[in-house]
């Protein structure tokens, strides 16, 4: 049994940190009022604060328990929800886990429960954004043969798309720069890592890059059937927030 208390747990913002915080909640039998990122926290009156630190062993135990007692599908939803960077995602994850430990693997089918649909809907926004970026990312060839691309996603999609691109372009070095979250996925032909960045590097494009961009724009414009123009339809399938980073609209 967890006791509902007016207590707020804080963590360092990493996934490991969040899992450790959840471990500490269960360890001290607390159902917290909130779990907050230390970085952007607002003090609430009449609440106690408990700081937690990321601990590999604690996080590992929570993750293992999710796989063992709930399901890997549930873990995927939790991870996606964590990446969504939305407000209140930590408590959604906590509520979901609490329900999950009660019902086991069937929890992901019980979409009528508040804790379940709230989490799964949050997770889906990130997962579907990641799916769209699989298509909407545009690489530009740099002078040194690296393919570079910029994106501006709402959630942190890089961990979700990394496998797709590394498999597809297994022998081609590329970088995907997430400007909104100052992260960069770097693949050198062998190994992949996500680095933190602070600024946009000075870019020198390869000589033939401009020519291919023009050809692509030419193709994009000619493939439209003028008699069937439907801006509204395009807008709903390819919202304008993606346009800034796409070659065909520059």
């Amino acid at each position: 049994m967890l006791n509902r208390r007016d207590v707020i747990y804080t963590y360092d913002g990493s996934f490991e940190g969040l899992m450790s915080a959840i471990f500490d909640c269960y360890y001290s039998h607390d159902y917290p009022y909130d779990i907050c990122n230390e970085g952007n926290m607002q003090t609430v009156l009449l609440c106690d604060y408990i700081g937690t630190s990321a601990d590999r062993e604690k996080a590992g135990r929570v993750m293992n328990s999710i796989f063992a007692k709930i399901s890997s599908e549930a873990f995927y939803h939790i991870y996606c929800a964590y990446l969504s960077e939305t407000k209140g995602r930590e408590m959604k994850i906590f509520d979901f886990l609490h329900t999950g430990y009660k019902f086991g693997a069937s929890v992901t089918n019980r979409m009528n429960l508040d804790s379940v649909w709230r989490l799964i809907n949050t997770a889906k926004t990130v997962a579907s954004e990641a799916h769209l970026y699989r298509g909407f990312i545009r690489f530009k060839k740099l002078e040194n043969g690296i393919y570079y691309s910029e994106i501006e996603p709402k959630g942190r999609v890089l961990p979700l798309i990394s496998h797709h691109f590394c498999e597809r372009f297994s022998s081609m070095p590329f970088m995907i720069h997430d400007l909104n979250h100052a992260e960069c996925l770097v693949y050198n032909g062998n190994s992949v890592e996500i680095r933190e960045t602070d600024s946009v590097p000075l870019l020198k494009y390869a000589e033939d890059e401009q020519a291919f961009q023009e050809m692509w724009r030419e193709f994009y414009n000619t493939i439209t059937i003028k008699e069937r123009r439907n801006e509204k339809c395009r807008m709903s399938l390819l919202p304008k927030r993606y346009w800034r980073c796409m070659t065909e609209f520059n």
Partner: protein
């Protein structure tokens, strides 16, 4: 001629081909190779007409020896002509692919010299991609009607999807508008591809590394509104193709006036009709409907104002309302407004609890249309009284189609046609 110029001419000539799907293939990347297939397919962009761009859709050449009246590339038409070389297409595909512009290649061609020569050129192009560049991305190739069996078999082993266009929905129309193409020329390669796919699947079950023949299946397309076939005839034909030819997809393309033949219409493309056919097509493939259920001899066209599923439900009110907690999955699928995903969600969740309308809302099941046809725990939604003459106007007013003022059910000329098109999205 510069390659950019060729690209402009030959993509312009290919734009009337509808198929731009990249689903169904899960080809893996090989060591040192480039590319992979994504089972669900990936859209890389959307053009201003709202259609998905997923493949580099081009013709190999538009120097055609045929004179099909509905086609822009007919030899009697005065249009710019160009031809690629196999090397040019392969290079362009790889460069576009590396920049993640596209998911793969859609290669079709006008008939140069004869069908065999054309097919050989297509094979040459794809061989460069597959063997030289070790390209494992998606390739969709057109089988040219009349090409020899050996060549089609060879092409099938290289590509992910193949298609033979049925072009027009009846033999009569084909005879009138495309006299050089015969029914046999179209159906024979289709049959051959179907048999090839079946054989390949059997071999794969025995030998894991057996070569895959057209792993993403075959598709076809037909032009709507150029000739006088009814919706019923078209949907019946599609059903036949799905059943007998194991088609993955049948595409419909509203006829855009490009011809000058007096037999052809010159009006704007019938987009709404095309949309209704797609809706019906989905009902055939995913919802367990048959063509005979959707349209009858008395009523061979789909309604302009409501979708085929609603139309069917209103004609079969004796089956409704259904209890969301008890009705079989097949019946839930037939409720207007509930799709495959929502039906699955409902069936999964109701194993654990009695669902109420509130639960359905939480599960993001749209109640707009469904509320007239379902009950939960013995109650209807907001005590709606089920009567056909009431439901139809209510449905329409909520769709925003009829707008203000008196609604006339018998008026086929809906002024809000454009608004429907915008509402429905994908064409």
């Amino acid at each position: 001629m510069e390659i950019k110029e060729k690209l402009r001419i030959l993509s312009d000539a290919a734009k009337y081909d509808v198929a731009c799907t990249s689903s169904g293939s899960n080809r893996k990347n090989t060591k040192g190779g480039i590319g992979s297939g994504a089972e669900a397919g990936i859209c890389h962009s959307f053009s201003a007409d709202g259609r998905c761009i997923s493949l580099l859709k081009i013709l190999f050449s538009n120097y055609c020896i045929y004179d099909c009246q509905y086609c822009v590339n007919r030899c009697s038409n005065d249009t710019e002509r160009a031809s690629f070389t196999p090397r040019e297409i392969a290079d362009l595909t790889i460069e576009f692919y590396k920049r993640n512009y596209i998911e793969g290649l859609f290669l079709s061609s006008a008939v140069i010299k004869d069908p065999d020569y054309t097919t050989e050129q297509l094979i040459k192009t794809i061989e460069i991609l597959r063997y030289e560049y070790r390209f494992n991305g998606y390739i969709h190739a057109k089988a040219i009607p009349g090409a020899s069996k050996d060549l089609i078999a060879k092409l099938g082993l290289l590509v992910d999807r193949m298609s033979v266009n049925i072009e027009l929905p009846s033999q009569k129309s084909l005879l009138a508008l495309a006299p050089q193409k015969s029914k046999e020329n179209i159906l024979n390669p289709m049959q051959q591809i179907k048999n090839g796919i079946t054989e390949s699947k059997q071999e794969l079950a025995v030998y894991r590394h057996a070569p895959k023949f057209v792993p993403a299946g075959q598709s076809t397309q037909m032009i709507i509104g150029a000739t006088g076939e009814s919706d019923k005839a078209i949907i019946n034909l599609s059903q036949g193709l799905y059943k007998k030819m194991n088609m993955k997809r049948v595409f419909y393309s509203a006829y855009v006036p490009v011809g000058t033949n007096p037999l052809l219409p010159t009006t704007a493309p019938p987009l709404l009709r095309e949309h209704r056919l797609y809706q019906a097509d989905w009902l055939l493939r995913f919802y367990g409907f048959t063509a005979e259920e959707l349209l009858s001899e008395k009523n061979p066209y789909f309604s302009n104002i409501i979708d085929p599923k609603c139309q069917w439900a209103l004609e079969h009110l004796e089956l409704f309302p259904i209890d969301i907690n008890r009705a079989p999955y097949e019946m839930i699928l037939r409720v207007p407004g509930i799709g495959v995903r929502n039906a699955l969600k409902i069936v999964k969740a109701r194993r654990y609890t009695h669902l109420t309308f509130d639960d359905l809302k939480k599960m993001r099941v749209s109640m707009k249309r469904a509320k007239y046809f379902i009950t939960a725990e013995g109650k209807s939604y907001g005590n709606i009284w089920l009567r056909q003459e009431l439901i139809t106007p209510m449905l329409l007013s909520e769709n925003g189609v009829a707008g203000f003022g008196q609604i006339s059910l018998f008026d086929d000329q809906v002024t809000g046609e454009d608004r429907i098109k915008c509402l429905t999205g994908e064409m």
